[in-house]
Amino acid sequence: MLSKYDVTIGLEVHVELATKSKIFCGCSTAFGAKPNTHTCPVCIGMPGSLPVLNKKVLEYAMAVGLATNCDITRFSKFDRKNYFYPDNPQNYQISQLYMPICRNGFVEINTCAGNKKIGIHEIHMEEDAGKLIHDEITGNSYVDYNRSGVPLIEIVTEPDMSSEVEVVTFLEKLRLIIQYLEASDCKLNEGSMRVDVNLSVKKRGETELGTRTEMKNLNSFKAITRAIENEALRQIKLLEKGEKIQLETRRWDDVKGESYSMRSKEDARDYRYFPEPDIMPIVISNEWINDIKYKQPELRDEKMQRYIREYSIPKYDADIITSIKHMTVIFEKAVELGGNPKKVSNYLMGETMRLLKERNMEAEDISFSPVNLVKLIKLVDEGVINGTTAKEVFEKIFNEDIEPIEYVEKNNLKMQSDESWLQTVIEQVIAANNQSVCDYKNGKERALGFLIGQIMKETKGKANPAVVKKLLLENL
C-alpha cells in the first residue's frame, strides 16, 4: 500500500533569535523569569503603545538568509496577521507576508540517497506569542506574556522533502548553520526551535500534489520522525477508503503517538494580512549586506579546515567535533587553556560522545568546564594517574564538573610506581595464581595479561602499568 504513494513534505521552522531584548520593545528575552515580569505596554498590547523594530533581529535574519543562499529583499515590510487567541495580546501578530526579508534560498543535504537541495521559499521576521498555562483545578487557563514579542524568524521551505530521514537531515543541517551564526541556540525541547510539518501524499506518478495538513507540537527529532510516519499513513488509509483529506492544522500527541485536528468553527484561517502601519519599511543596501557577511562568525567548513591546519587533528576528528556547535566551544576553550588538541579531541569524540548517548543527552546539555578536562589530561601526561583512573575521573567531571587535582588527591587515586610496595603485591598474586604462572611458562602469553589484571585489581587500578609489567617479568 505504502509503495503506491509519494509523500511530499515542506516545513515551517520557527527559530527564537538570541537577542537580549524583544523585537519591538526593551523587555528582556531571558528564559524562565516569573510570569509577566518581562512585559511592558508594547508586548502586552496596551492601548496607545507602539512597536519599534530591534535592529539586531533584522541582522540575524539577514545572516541566516545569507548562510542559506537566499536573496535579501532590498525593500522589505511588516504586515499584520489578524486572529484572536489569548496568547496574542493585540489579537494580531506583527509578521511579514508580502515582502519577507529573505527569499529563494536553499540548503544542501546529504543522505544515503545522495546530495539534494532543499529550497527555502522565504525567511520572515515576526513576534512570538505568550504562553498559556492550563489549570485543571480552576478549569481556567492563564496567560504569561513574557515570551510575547520575543523575536522569531520563520523559515519556510519548499515542499522538497519526501521522507522523515530527509526532514531530520535538513533540520540538523539548518540548526547547525543557525547555531554557528550564533543567531539562536535552537533547542527543540525548550521551544527556541519549533517545527511545523506540512505533509501531503499522492499516488505515485500523479503530478498534482494532494491536500496537505499542518502538524504542530513537535518537540524533538524523534517526535518529528514519528509524526511524519503516522500522518503519511493516516492520509494514505483515508485515500484508500476513498475519503478526502481535510486542509487543517493537527496537533501531535507524542505520548499517545497520534495527532488530532485543531479545527473549530471559530477558526476562520482568514488572517486578513495588511501592511503594518506602525512600522516603517526596511531598505537594505549592498554595504549593509557586505557588512553582515564580513561580521559573520566562522562557519563549520572554515572551522573544520582550521582545526586540521592549526591543531593538526585528523579530518575525522575535526568532522565529528564541528558537527556539534557546543562541542567546538569546549574544544577551543580547552585547547586555548593549553590542552593538547588531539588528546582533547579524543576525550570529546570518545568518552563524551559515549556518555551523551548512554544518558540520552543533547550536546548542548554538556556542562563541564573545559579547564577541568585540561587538568585531567595534564594529570595523565605527568604520570600522576593512569588511564584507567582517568576514565573514572572524567565521568565525575562530566557528571558534576569536579576539580580533578583535588579529587585525585582526596580519593587517593594517584598512580603507584613504588617498586618495593608493588613487589609485595606481585609476590602475593604469583602465590595465589600458580596455574597461570605455569601456563605462562608453558608459552601461553595470555596468562601474563591475566596476572597483570589481577595486580591492577589488588592495587585498585592505581598501579603504574609499565612498572607492574617490568617487575612481573623479573619475578617470573
Binding site: T19, K20, S21, C25, G26, C27, S28, K34, P35, N36, T37, H38, T39, C40, P41, I44, M46, V52, L53, N54, K55, K56, V57, L58, N82, F84, Y85, P86, L132, I133, H134, D135, T138, G139, N140, S141, Y142, V143, D144, Y145, K216, N217, R251, M262, K265, E266, A268, D270, R272, F274, P275, P277, I279, M280, P281, I282, V283
Partner: protein
C-alpha cells in the same frame, strides 16, 4: 445594488470580528454593510491598473532601536487593569494547546 452579504457571510464576519449579533442586529448589519460596499464600489470606476498602493503617508524608512534591555519588572502595572488575575497571570476560559 448587488446583494453580496448572505447569511453565511454575516456569520463569517461575526467570527472574524468576534461580534455576536441577534437576528435584528444581523439584518441591520447586512443592510449597513451592503450600503457601505455600494458606496465603496464607486472606486471601481477608476482605472488604477499601474498605480502603486500607498499604505502610509510617510516615506521614511529604517527606523530601529538598538538591542538593549531598557525595561524592568512592570508586572504590577501591567496587571492593574486586568479583569481576572491569578499568580501574576491573566485569567481566561480554558483553552487547548
Amino acid at each position: 445594488m448587488k446583494k453580496r452579504i448572505s447569511n453565511e457571510t454575516i456569520e463569517y464576519i461575526g467570527i472574524l470580528s468576534k461580534l455576536e449579533l441577534d437576528e435584528t442586529e444581523k439584518e441591520q448589519a447586512v443592510s449597513d454593510i451592503e450600503m457601505m460596499l455600494d458606496f465603496f464600489d464607486k472606486m471601481s470606476e477608476l482605472d488604477t491598473e499601474d498605480v502603486a498602493p500607498m499604505s502610509h503617508p510617510m516615506a521614511n524608512n529604517n527606523v530601529f532601536r538598538e538591542d538593549v534591555v531598557t525595561n524592568g519588572d512592570m508586572r504590577e502595572d501591567m496587571l492593574k487593569n486586568a479583569p481576572m488575575v491569578l499568580d501574576g497571570m491573566f485569567g481566561v476560559p480554558k483553552t487547548f494547546g
